[in-house]
């Protein structure tokens, strides 16, 4: 989230598209109902299904899953054609005026530089024209045909209301009504918030779905303001924290990246991470990358990270592929290229696509280790559960070790919410049986490995032997000790250059902010963006002062929000180029003639003059990007691509199948239904229900009562066509497998007309499995395709094709 849950109360228009906030985040949705009740805000829901969010919406428009980009580019087109643009904002705070290289073009679904064999682009032309002064060239009049604004205008012209309706199935009048409601927020005194979640991410073009709405929000001037923003609702309680701390194959905490093997030494690594400003006066905050990186290396390896060994640069693994994400992991496993796998509080057999492939992959491991508070299907993938898990244990040679862990109620520490608030919690109960904390278990593994390397030697032991492990109890570091490491601390005194008798930094002290981190090895910091969370003043995450001056919803003294306790990021954009708030009634920050002041921690230096420094400080431009340069693998502008499995061909580029640069493994391509398949004619989507949380709450009696049994949802029309009755049984099949399910025949799903053809939708909730308190049932992921987003590899769970036929129930 750019903003926070409590800030949503400040909005005028809530657009829920690519998510279902009322159903998946009820207590956050409270702030939507507050905005409606206190400000007269309106709620628009765009979704293939009439959801619980739609049940309390002012306006609902149906859309075919997987066609959101066409819809949103259509809205952008509408706004551009009807002069519904926050012009001052667009000119001052976006790259609308920047000139793009002459070689860059777009034609029939593809940009310049496409290589069909590699399924990738050469992105060299996707960039600005650079002037003699070394800065990007701009045309503030927006007259130059090569400026971003004109290229965008040309790019979206195709997405007329008729074309949008043809692709998305949204009736034209409904599309136009949504356009009108959204366009109103182009006024500087009106704002809109976008609330989205997996409905946008779980597509082969998920990143571009989100980017497309972000572009629209910039055109409307709704980023950085109260009640505005791009608000990813996010899933698990610490999914934000796990991402912040970089528990991914290619990340270093604080959104730094692991070296690749094309960066054999530290100098090469840093050469692409200099982030020189692209316009005069800009902060380009990533210029500080080296300080954060060196401080991270010092936190990891302390005295072993020296200037002489480039701060232990070679201790880090170097990647040969962009990422070893989950899909690649299971692909490798299935090829027999992996031997051991550890699942910590995660149930991949349920959570990833194509269960048959996953089960086959797990069966090829030598050892599977499960750390979990609960029984999971993954831990028991080898166990026969009839039709729900039809395996022969004697044929599965994988050894499985299942370790019992504590749960939230039994441990201490911080969790990061969607609004980046880091909130501390305390243990309340004794663990059951012999359950242990994850920290204890990870420590045991590390200490044992270290011990073995000490005794036996072995491959490259130094990074393990020299890992910083200065804890009072080496067997179980405390949450406070670990939190302090992440915040960062001073290793050696640093004298004040202006007064050598004074110390700027004192060895042994916690740093107060990432602003003081250094690249000479005198500071250590596990995660620079968390600096300020555990300082000499104490644990800022444990703060519980819920005062909120003038009821802005900021709550600056409640917990700690990264970065630097900032509650709305890009908040400088809440004021115009002279520092005057766009909306006096909703002011956030303003320039008082000498400095920035207001209700939030300013995003830029407090004394940075408003006309000089742009609000988007992480970008070398200082402004936001309507044109993404080469940052996205699939294009600097979003394009409508069909899902890999689609009931219709791509209307705007009939030759292109799916996202042209999404990675597809060879065997998986053969497991996709063909476009407009007769065998699998229906557009399916999988989703969550409010009564359950993923695959956890099926272990709860209460939640099992509230939604006891697996079912799928279809329209009355499709039910009639197929002879399926309400609460009757059906077999739902995809090219990858089939499930038996009860059927809910509902008015909340209606067939759509897409490109002149009737498209039926089959809705598939995901929450059942073969262990738990709820009735045994199939997981939706028996059906889903094994392909991910082109940029971040999130699987395409939201749009695929199935068939459905009436049948009798399972034989007991």
């Amino acid at each position: 989230m750019t903003n926070s849950w409590t800030d949503i109360k400040n909005t005028d228009l809530v657009v829920i598209m690519g998510g279902n906030a009322a159903e998946a985040h009820p207590c956050g949705f409270k702030w939507v109902t507050e905005a409606k009740a206190t400000r007269g805000a309106k709620l628009v829901v765009v979704d293939p299904r009439f959801t619980r969010s739609a049940a309390v919406a002012d306006y609902y428009a149906p859309i075919r899953q997987g066609s959101d980009i066409a819809f949103l580019l259509g809205v952008i087109n509408y706004c551009m054609l009807n002069d519904k643009v926050q012009w001052e904002y667009v000119k001052a705070f976006t790259n609308a005026a920047y000139l793009v290289k002459d070689g860059f073009t777009y034609q029939e679904g593809l940009f310049t530089g496409y290589d069909e064999q590699k399924r990738d682009y050469n992105r060299s032309t996707w960039d600005y024209q650079i002037g003699a002064d070394g800065y990007a060239m701009v045309d503030d009049t927006l007259q130059n045909p090569r400026c971003v604004w004109n290229l965008l205008k040309e790019h979206v012209a195709l997405y007329t209301p008729d074309m949008v309706s043809r692709i998305t199935g949204t009736p034209k009048d409904k599309f136009l009504k949504v356009c009108e409601m959204i366009a109103e927020t182009s006024s500087p005194t009106k704002t809109m918030t976008s609330m989205y979640a997996l409905g946008w991410t779980q597509h082969s073009k998920g990143s571009q779905n989100i980017r497309c709405m972000a572009m629209l929000q910039l055109i409307l001037g709704n980023i950085g303001v109260r009640g505005g923003g791009m608000n990813a609702l996010r899933g698990h309680s610490n999914i934000q924290g796990l991402t912040d701390i970089g528990l991914m194959s290619n990340l270093i905490p604080g959104y730094m990246s692991l070296p690749t093997e094309r960066e054999p030494d530290f100098a090469t690594y840093m050469s692409t991470r200099g982030f020189k400003p692209l316009r005069p006066n800009q902060m380009s905050y990533w210029q500080n990358y080296k300080k954060f990186f060196v401080s991270f290396q010092k936190a990891m390896w302390g005295a072993a990270a020296t200037p002489e060994n480039n701060f232990a640069y070679d201790y880090l693994p170097k990647l040969d592929v962009p990422a070893y994400d989950i899909l690649r992991a299971f692909e490798l496993m299935n090829q027999g290229k992996m031997n051991a796998y550890v699942c910590q509080g995660f149930n991949p057999l349920q959570a990833f696509p194509n269960k048959a492939k996953l089960a086959s992959a797990l069966s090829k491991l030598k050892l599977l280790v499960i750390m979990d508070p609960l029984e999971t299907e993954t831990a028991r993938f080898w166990e026969n559960h009839g039709i729900y898990n039809d395996v022969d244990p004697t044929k599965i040679q994988t050894e499985v070790i299942q370790l019992p862990t504590t749960c939230f109620a039994e441990d201490e520490g911080g969790l990061v919410n969607s609004g980046r608030w880091m909130q501390w919690h305390w243990p309340a109960g004794s663990p059951p049986g012999e359950a242990k904390t994850d920290v204890w278990i990870m420590s045991q593994i590390h200490l044992r490995l270290k011990d073995l390397y000490r005794k036996e030697g072995g491959a490259n032991p130094d990074p393990i032997l020299n890992l910083t492990w200065n804890y009072k109890d080496t067997h179980e570091p405390t949450a406070a000790e670990l939190a302090k490491e992440m915040n960062g601390y001073v290793l050696t005194d640093v004298a004040d250059p202006n007064d050598p008798t004074k110390k700027l930094l004192e060895a042994g002290k916690q740093v107060a902010t990432f602003g003081v981190l250094r690249d000479d090895g005198s500071t250590a910091c596990g995660n620079w963006i968390y600096s300020g969370s555990y300082t000499e003043a104490g644990n800022m995450m444990a703060r519980r002062d819920n005062s909120d001056p003038d009821d802005t919803g900021a709550f600056l003294k409640w917990s700690f929000a990264w970065p630097a306790n900032r509650r709305i990021i890009y908040n400088r954009a809440s004021a115009d180029i002279n520092g005057k708030p766009w909306d006096e009634t909703r002011k956030l920050l303003w320039w008082d003639g000498a400095k920035w002041t207001g209700y939030d921690v300013p995003d830029i230096a407090p004394t940075a003059k408003p006309q000089d420094v742009g609000p988007f400080i992480m970008n070398p431009e200082g402004v936001s990007r309507l044109f993404a340069r080469g940052m996205m693998r699939d294009g600097p502008f979003p394009v409508h691509y069909e899902p890999f499995e689609s009931p219709v061909a791509n209307v705007i580029a009939p030759k292109i199948r799916g996202n042209p640069v999404a990675r597809v493994f060879k065997d998986d391509f053969t497991q996709f239904a063909e476009v407009a398949s007769k065998e699998f004619p229906y557009a399916a989507t999988s989703y969550r229900l409010t009564e359950h949380f993923h695959y956890w709450t099926k272990n709860n009696q209460v939640n099992a009562v509230l939604q006891p049994e697996f079912f799928v949802e279809i329209s009355e029309q499709l039910a009639k066509e197929k002879g399926i009755s309400n609460a009757g049984w059906a077999k739902v099949s995809s090219k990858r497998g089939s499930v038996l399910a009860k059927v809910y025949v509902t008015k909340r799903i209606r067939p759509l007309t897409v490109d002149g053809k009737t498209v039926h939708i089959v809705g598939i909730p995901i929450h059942w499995g073969f262990v738990g308190a709820a009735r045994k049932g199939f997981t939706a992921n028996v059906l889903t395709p094994f392909v991910g987003d082109a940029n971040i590899e999130t699987p395409e769970f939201k749009a695929f094709c199935v068939n459905i036929e009436p049948t009798t129930g399972p034989v007991a």
């Binding site: 992996m338 979990d372 059951p432 994850d438 593994i445 590390h446 073995l452 819920n546």
Partner: protein
């Protein structure tokens, strides 16, 4: 159908109902005299209250956990109730159907109590000691790493990359658990490393 069910219930118990009336009339009183208070004693009295955060979604609602026994005093604590924290700015005491049933997941029948091991080809888990489980894990990891760590690639570049063992991290654990996990996994050179944020 709902109406029908309730009528059935009513009829099934009609006999007993009349019995009650008759018992009173026949002088088998007592019922009439019983002064039972309808109001239950408030069940949170004399419990320990601890502030925590809901373990499910990222709204991160503030919760109050009530227990018999106090961990801070070194006692064993059994959690008896969980409800929303009114002082929390986001949820203001409210909870969703998952949050309102958090007590159930703490005490779920599916909670794991002991380390277990499933041998190759077996159709069951068997209990093992922590030491046996951890020693085994460390041995397998060490052997696999020693055998398969790629220290240099074909071009002679030091890469120190371990791709034959993978780690899938949780996303409902704390930052501190995550950091501890990161240190252990990354220091070993493991790159097949991902977390729930991917999906």
């Amino acid at each position: 159908m709902n109406m029908e069910l309730s009528r059935r219930q009513f009829l099934r118990t009609a006999g007993a109902g009349i019995a009650g009336t008759s018992l009173g009339a026949l002088g088998f009183g007592g019922v009439e005299e019983a002064v039972a208070s309808a109001i239950r004693p408030f069940k949170l009295v004399n419990t320990t209250e601890v502030r925590n955060t809901c373990t499910y979604c990222s709204v991160a609602c503030g919760i109050l956990i009530f227990s018999k026994g106090d961990l801070k005093k070194g006692e064993k604590a059994t959690i008896t109730h969980i409800e929303g924290d009114v002082d929390h700015p986001t949820n203001r005491g409210t909870l969703c159907p998952k949050g309102a049933a958090l007590l159930d997941i703490v005490h779920s029948k599916q909670r794991l109590n002991y380390p277990m091991m499933r041998k190759a080809g077996s159709d069951t888990f068997e209990r093992v000691s922590w030491d046996a489980a951890l020693d085994k894990i460390a041995r397998v990891l060490k052997d696999d790493r020693d055998k398969n760590l790629v220290t240099k690639n074909n071009d002679g570049v030091t890469v120190n990359r371990w791709t034959t063992t993978g780690f899938l991290a949780a996303s409902a654990t704390t930052n501190e658990t995550a950091w501890c996990t990161y240190k252990v996994v990354r220091s070993a050179g493991m790159v097949v490393f991902d977390n729930q944020a991917r999906v």
